[in-house]
């Protein structure tokens, strides 16, 4: 009678161990897929009427931080962000703002209050929404995955590099050896 509960406990442990290893296998394969999907460039896009072709990372950061209010052609800059939680937004916060969500919110609240920030970012839910917004607003600037770019918007090179280049900096996943 005493041997039977022990046997059951051992069997249960074995089953749980076996189940856990199977789940790990599934997660591992999902991670591989995610890494393949997320190893993609993020394009900085503007309205087709915008004459800007290239921006330095410094200028881009300045624009995204809201420190500039107008383009050289006099058009007002409108910053377009995607909703929190999106991979593209995380990458932009990481590579351009170098902030987390809390710091990002605090920066704009504080900056608008003090007048140091001139632009309040518009938040859109999807890459399609971003594209349409930028298509309608001549001074808009935003970002989408390189695969989401279409002829209605224009891609701006960063430091002379386009999203197809290998050493292009803005990617969904941080590049090895960079921050």
């Amino acid at each position: 009678m005493l041997r039977r509960p022990r046997f059951l406990i051992i069997a249960l442990v074995l089953v749980l161990l076996a189940d856990g290893s199977a789940q790990k296998t599934v997660r591992a394969s999902a991670d591989v897929q995610t890494s393949v999907a997320t190893d993609e460039s993020i394009a900085i896009v503007v309205n087709q009427e915008n004459t800007i072709e290239n921006l330095s990372m410094k200028d881009l950061r300045s624009i995204f931080l809201g420190e500039r209010s107008h383009w050289p052609n006099g058009r007002r800059i409108t910053l377009v962000m995607m909703e929190p939680g999106q991979l593209e937004r995380k990458a932009i916060l990481r590579d351009i703002y170098r902030m987390n969500e809390t710091d990002f919110s605090r920066h704009f609240l504080q900056g608008l209050f003090t007048g140091e920030v001139f632009v309040s970012p518009k938040t859109l839910a999807s890459p399609v929404g971003v594209r349409k917004f930028i298509f309608n607003v001549p001074g808009a600037i935003g970002y989408v995955r390189a695969s989401d770019v279409d002829p209605t918007i224009k891609v701006v090179r960063i430091d002379g590099r386009s999203p197809e280049d290998k050493d292009y900096e803005l990617r969904l996943q941080p590049r090895l050896g960079t921050k």
Binding site: K122, G129, K132, F133, N136, P138
Partner: protein, 492 residues
């Protein structure tokens, strides 16, 4: 002058409308089927005319529908889409949600695309100068409004609501008003066009109705005239027949009375003992015999003609040679020819093939021709009777042509079409007191046709006439005797 003569009716002065009556005689010759055919042709033409008229009216109505009703519907759609463009733009003002604003901007752009396409379609359909002018103005005003609309949308999406409202009030409202006025102008033009086309269709309908009434009146009139013409043609035909019959009765009475009078007078003289000597008796006997034969021939002729007309004659058809036929003819006409002081020159081509026919009937036919030659042969005193083999009009067929030629008075061209009409006698012949019944040639023709042949005549007034009987030669393998009715023989 060679003429194939067929049976014809005689035109005559039977009323005041001699030209019309001549025309009606012509119709009655070929029966009223010709007239009915003309009526049918005219009716068909009328029906085609009416159908074409109705189709033209239908086409006009369809053009009006396409040009105006569909056009008006298209303008209604343009007005709605233009309003939708503006409405969606203004809806974007009512929210701060950028996602919704983008959605409204999208709706506005969809609607403006439909308007742009609609304007292009309108310009493609426009044909009049005024329509093209207002279409181009609408296109220009719409582009101007879209520029303002784009600025308004951009301002809304940027979050500059005040700026957007300012843009709309200063630029959007006036430019959209111009677009609205342009659309109203186009609509007004369509209304005018529709009214004009409606008036055109009304006019066309009235015209069609008038034509229809006219055509029906014409048809009614034509049908009435046709019926009158048919009736009159029949009446004229009946009148002519009655006149010919009356002439015939008068002629036959005269032809009967003359020999009867001679016979009666001769018999009376013999009975009264006036004639006693044998020579005198012989002469009186010859007179009575000749006039009796003349009477018999006349009666036979009439009976034969009556029987051929009724189709009661039965011919004994058998192969015969031309020599047999000529022998019979010469035998039967010997007395007549001799008494008239004529001689007959006979020429028969050697080795003529046999012919198929009733020797008695054919002999009667040629006798009639010889009798005519004697009667109308003048004072020349010679009659030629020839038989030749010739190619017939039927392919690969031969025929024997028997010609009886005289050198007498000939036939006037006005009489020529009627010489084969029963009871017809030329007025000049009647006036010259030349006796006859008007049955000799019709009977000859009837017999010739019953034997599968025909009679033609070549004549010249004052020179003479040559009547030719055409008879098909006998084909091999048909050498047998049979009795047939004339209808059967003619069909061969």
């Amino acid at each position: 002058m060679s003429t194939s003569v067929t049976r014809t009716t005689r035109p005559g002065p039977l009323g005041p409308h001699s030209l019309i009556d001549r025309f009606l005689y012509g119709i009655s010759r070929y029966s009223s089927t010709l007239l009915l055919l003309m009526v049918f042709t005219v009716e068909t033409g009328v029906v085609i005319f009416v159908i074409r008229d109705l189709r033209a009216a239908d086409s006009e109505v369809q053009t009006m529908y396409v040009g105006s009703v569909i056009g008006l519907r298209g303008i209604g759609g343009l007005q709605y889409d233009a309003q939708e463009t503006r409405r969606a733009t203004l809806y974007a003002l009512t929210t701060n949600d950028s996602n919704l604003q983008v959605e409204y901007a999208d709706q506005s752009r969809d609607a403006d695309r439909r308007v742009t396409n609609g304007i292009n379609e309108y310009l493609g359909r426009a044909h009049t100068a005024s329509a093209i002018e207002v279409g181009k103005r609408l296109q220009s005003d719409w582009v101007a409004y879209l520029k303002v609309r784009d600025e308004v949308l951009a301002s809304i999406l940027e979050g500059s609501i005040k700026e957007a409202v300012d843009y709309d009030l200063k630029g959007g409202v006036p430019s959209f008003d111009r677009v609205r006025q342009d659309l109203e102008e186009i609509k007004r033009q369509y209304d005018e066009q529709a009214s004009q086309q409606l008036a055109d269709v009304d006019e066309s309908s009235r015209r069609s109705a008038g034509r229809l009434v006219g055509v029906l009146c014409f048809t009614l009139l034509f049908a009435s005239v046709s019926i009158w013409a048919i009736q009159r043609a029949r009446m004229l035909s009946a009148l002519k027949l009655a006149k010919l019959q009356m002439d015939f009765v008068a002629s036959v009475s005269h032809e009967l009375r003359t020999p009867l009078a001679v016979i009666s007078a001769s018999a009376q003289n013999i009975a009264d003992g006036v004639v006693e000597e044998k020579d005198q008796l012989t002469r009186y006997g010859n007179v009575i015999r000749n006039h009796t034969r003349q009477l018999t021939e006349l009666v036979n002729q009439i009976l034969l003609f009556a029987s051929t007309r009724e189709g009661r004659t039965h011919y004994v058809v058998r192969p015969m040679s031309i020599e047999q036929l000529f022998e019979s003819v010469l035998h039967n006409t010997r007395e007549v020819v001799r008494e008239a002081g004529f001689t007959v020159d006979v020429q028969v081509e050697p080795d003529l093939p046999p012919i198929l026919g009733d020797i008695s009937a054919l002999s009667q036919c040629v006798q009639n021709l010889v009798g005519n030659a004697v009667k109308y042969g003048g004072t020349h005193g010679r009659i030629a009777m020839r038989a030749l083999l010739q190619k017939s009009e039927i392919p690969h067929g031969d025929e024997v042509r028997i010609t009886v030629e005289d050198h007498g008075i000939g036939i006037d061209s006005s009489d020529l079409p009627h010489i084969f009409d029963p009871f017809y006698r030329s007025p000049s012949v009647a006036a010259a007191q030349i006796h006859g019944t008007g049955l000799g040639l019709p009977l000859a023709k009837s017999i010739a046709e019953a034997m599968g042949g025909k009679i033609t005549v070549v004549t010249k007034l004052g020179v003479g006439s040559a009547f030719t009987l055409h008879l098909p030669t006998l084909k091999k393998g048909t050498l047998q005797t049979e009795t047939v009715s004339p209808d059967l023989l003619t069909r061969r």
